[in-house]
Amino acid sequence: MTLLSVRGVSKRFGGLQAVNDLSFDVARGSIKALIGPNGAGKTTLFDLISGFLRPDRGEIFFEEAEIHAMSSCQVAVRGMVRTFQHIRLFPKMSVLENIMVGRHVHSNAGFLAGMLNLPFTWGEERRIREKSFEIMESLGIAAHARTEAVSLAYGQQRVVEIGRALACEPKLLLLDEPAAGLNMRETNEMGRLILRIRDTGVTVLLVEHDMSLVMKISDEVVVLSYGQKIAEDRPLAIQKNREVIRVYLGDDQ
């Protein structure tokens, strides 16, 4: 049951081959992690999958449909939503409003309906609000509903960003370094949150530097080095993989 399939994808920036002939699959309902040293091409790969960049070569399929030529917006509409390494919440908007934006793809009111304040939009707005509160309560951030999102503590901003993504009801959630900047307690909470999200039926693909988190929660790990895949296996096997150890710790070890 493959949800996402990356086939022979390459991306070059000038003289730098950021991603080179890379292939892997993400199974429905699983948590997959992308790891690798700095500059291995993880973020580029994320951008390619989520429609922020176009691959030079190769194909990406989401639910058997080609998505490598689509924009980030079209990809989101199909059920693949991402978060950002550097949190990108909407400034000057409350936590509630940020999450409500996540309901965009599941609502319809356009310019005309909005301007005329047509009756069908009232019920729609109410449902958006209810669903947003439901999400905030499940994440434990409902108390901050009216707070400006960017004024929250860093760890809570990450939770809001994930809540905004969950509001889209994605089939695949892409998390770009969800534990970056979090302390150990917050990282553990993040790990539990990701497992909970997976248990609700959402497939998760994450890029992460925190090895203990990756090893604890992932079903499978893909290791990148210089834009190429050097290993793909279960966490325990990855930890014993000689090639991975060499890449991470250097040749002399």
Binding site: C73, V81, K92, V101, F111, M115
Partner: protein, 357 residues
């Protein structure tokens, strides 16, 4: 809901109060400038939606005003009598033409103002989509320059086009019969009704835009304004939303152009001038950028003062200076939405805290 419409009711009350004040002080002639102010305010609130809420600048909105005004002026003054033909007779049979005598009693056959208005709006929509499509891919200074270029093109075209009256513009534009007994015209006998009609349209425009701001689309626009890539990743078609807002604001400007042209009885190339566009942006800026009420109140005051001639020969300079000062000292605009809470915070802030590193 009440919080949204209460200010609208208060504003409507202000409009009535101003009219009553002119009635009792015997200064009803002020209503003429106030009516013109209303039409300019239509451009301002539309532009405020574009600049403040969608986060896109336009230095070309006088161009859209001129497109509306000139199309209406041309079609309602162009005598079709000397051009009989199948198309003209078809238009005549379908009631799209009106026969009327001009100022010298010569009988004219011209396009009905309703049809001219529809044509003006339609042309504006087409041009706004054609211009906005490529131009809105630009950001910041580049978008400002590109829209400025559009404004200059419109200005040079109306200035250099013979059938649009070149430097003289088009005059003798008839009134716009809106409803029975309700005509948009500068005749002093219809001054009060035109005052209320014009401000009624502004109030209607405000209600539409306030609704939009508080809708799903308004939330999406705020998201696009705040973090465009994140908004895209949430499935918001950012380019289309920016373009739609651009076209919407162009329609507001164009409609203002049509109606003010009928009210003034003509239009000249100065209405398409770049300084007009700068003025509109300056008013939106001083009004607080993302603040429809701020923009409207500043428009009411500044347009009125300008039209009454208080700024004299420094008219354009005043708006240029306003824009410079705003950009230097309050780039978020003067009457911005969080002004009160910001001030409270500044006053209540502990001075010791501020000195801490």
């Amino acid at each position: 809901m009440a919080r949204r419409y209460l200010p609208v009711a208060a504003f409507a009350g202000l409009i009535v109060a101003i009219q009553l004040a002119t009635l009792f002080t015997g200064t009803a002639y002020h209503l003429t400038q106030l009516t013109m102010t209303a039409y300019y305010s239509l451009i301002i609130v539309g532009l405020c939606m574009l600049i403040g809420y969608a986060g896109q600048i336009s230095l070309g909105h006088a161009g859209f005003f001129a497109i509306g005004g000139y199309v209406a002026a041309f079609l309602t003054t162009w005598n079709l009598k000397p051009h009989p033909g199948a198309f003209v007779s078809l238009l005549g049979k379908s009631g799209a033409l009106v026969a009327r005598p001009d100022a010298y009693g010569v009988s004219l056959l011209t396009v009905h103002p309703w049809l001219a208005c529809a044509a003006a709006i339609l042309l504006t929509v087409v041009i706004a989509y054609l211009v906005g499509g490529p131009v809105l891919k630009l950001k910041g200074h580049y978008l400002a320059m590109a829209t400025l270029g559009f404004g200059i093109i419109v200005y040079r075209m109306v200035l250099g086009t013979e059938f649009l009256g070149a430097a003289d513009g088009i005059s003798d534009v008839p009134g716009f019969p809106l409803l029975s007994g309700m005509v948009i015209t500068g005749n002093s006998s219809a001054r009060v009704s035109n005052y209320y009609l014009a401000w009624g349209l502004v109030v209607l425009g405000m209600v539409l835009l306030l609704n939009l701001v508080h809708s799903r689309v308004g939330r999406a626009l705020a998201a696009v304004h705040g973090a465009e890539d994140a908004a895209g990743a949430m499935g918001i078609p950012t380019a289309r939303y920016k373009l739609n807002t651009f076209v919407l604001s162009a329609v507001f400007a164009s409609l203002a152009g049509v109606l003010l042209t009928h009210y003034n009885g003509g239009i000249g190339p100065s209405e398409a001038g770049v300084m007009k566009s700068v003025r509109y942006v300056a008013i939106v800026a001083i009004g607080g950028m993302a603040n429809l009420w701020g923009a409207l109140s500043m428009s009411l005051v500044l347009n009125y003062l300008s039209l009454r001639g208080y700024f004299g020969t420094y008219d354009d300079a005043v708006f240029g200076v306003i824009l410079i000062l705003i950009m230097l000292f309050a780039p978020d605009g003067l009457l911005r939405r969080h002004l009160l809470s910001d001030l409270k915070r500044a006053v209540s802030r502990n001075p010791a805290e501020e000195e801490a590193p």
